[in-house]
Symmetry: C2
Subunit: 209 residues, 2 copies
DNA sequence: GTATGTTTCAAACAGTTGTTTGGAATTGAT
DNA sequence: ATCAATTCCAAACAACTGTTTGAAACATAC
């Protein structure tokens, strides 16, 4: 059993990294199994198919993330409307993100990049899978914002949340490359945590606009 | 010559649509040539390779877009610092976008989706190609913001521009799918133009924060 | 030690990919 | 009408894809 687990998780480790780097279609099972130092057939043996492997990669991430996020939302849901400031709501999203990074190096970037790629899969199984399984936290989030900012219409909140998601996925998912540009043009280097901190006032101001 | 042009542009039309829908790797030349009703070999004859075809698709879009954008930037660059409000700067970006849509249906979504996919290509030729060829407008944009908001540091401006780009690419590129969700959950339907209008105050507030 | 179930592995499978080829069809100029 | 250049096209190419197979290696229990 221990040998199996190491094979499965070695595959997951290699897969999530490669998927984030190159994309799903651009990553072959042979590339994954070579990097994971396991036999090619073991992916189909342990996961069934490449599609299922992709979902398994997401599952591992989303389990950790949504568990923490759900906890944050629960405490927020017991607050009075006046206490629900945008900054506080944003932190409920950011705290679980940051704790991802404490478990594994670079986890935020990988996770955001995977999300971005899943989102880009327009025709795909993945998009449905992610939204079906984890769309309810978005709904809870929407309700919280509605409660804190009752002057905004529900569509305004809906769309602003998506502007926000776009900012986060885009900048955090590509942060290495962006940091390279930033470093080249402005001779400064920011870590992912710094970028997130910079992001909060920007997003909060937008949500309150 | 006229036959050739029609073949070339038929390929470009089919390719840009399919690339935006499914992605570059997920779209085969056979799918493209079938939809374009041309022979398979004509892609390699007219464009050389699939990579070059992808670049050609971008070129056609970016030529129209950057020409208009550059014009907008020029008029802004002759204004006084106090006149450079965030809303005005945003409109300089949005106007060329909207005029894309007047030429071809759905052009904004397609363009944004292509940009998103190019951006996701981390290892790739495309990323370099786009940033190399059109990165200077980003620099001009940064300078304008710096002039209008001198209290912000250069890194703050740099990152906020990227938050902004993320919002735009994410929401406009996926707007059909998002609109579906919006329609299902809130029974409202917004066109791309409406989403953009909704976006301006959000982004402007963030930039000024 | 034998038997049972699980996991690994090399090899092969059928299908798809981008690209190349050499000849046919078409074009435009003289 | 003749010639040269351009464009088209069916067919084939080698390389790569995800998946399956059946036997070998391993582990676990009696």
């Amino acid at each position: 059993m221990t040998k199996t687990e190491s094979t499965k998780s070695r595959i997951l480790d290699a897969a999530e990294q490669l998927f984030a780097e190159r994309g799903f279609a651009e990553t072959s099972l042979r590339t994954i199994t070579t990097r994971a130092r396991v036999n090619l057939a073991s992916v189909n043996y342990h996961f069934g198919s490449k599609k299922s492997l992709i979902q398994a990669v997401f599952d591992r991430f989303l389990q950790d993330f949504t568990k923490e996020l759900s906890l944050e939302l629960m405490t927020l849901e017991q607050l009075e409307p006046v206490q629900l400031e945008a900054e506080k709501l944003l932190n409920a999203l950011i705290k679980p993100l940051l704790s991802l990074n404490s478990r594994r190096d670079n986890a935020i970037s990988i996770f955001m990049r995977l999300l971005g790629r899943a989102y880009a899969e327009t025709q795909g199984h993945l998009r449905r899978y992610v939204t079906d399984k984890y769309g309810h936290v978005l709904v809870r989030f929407t309700h919280l914002f509605q409660k804190g900012y009752p002057s905004l219409t529900i569509d305004q909140i809906f769309w602003r949340l998506h502007y926000m998601l776009g900012s986060m996925i885009f900048t955090l998912g590509g942060s290495e490359a962006l940091r390279q540009i930033s470093q080249a043009d402005f001779n400064r280097d920011l870590g992912v945590e710094d970028v997130i901190k910079e992001m909060v006032p920007f997003l909060a101001a937008g949500m309150k606009a």
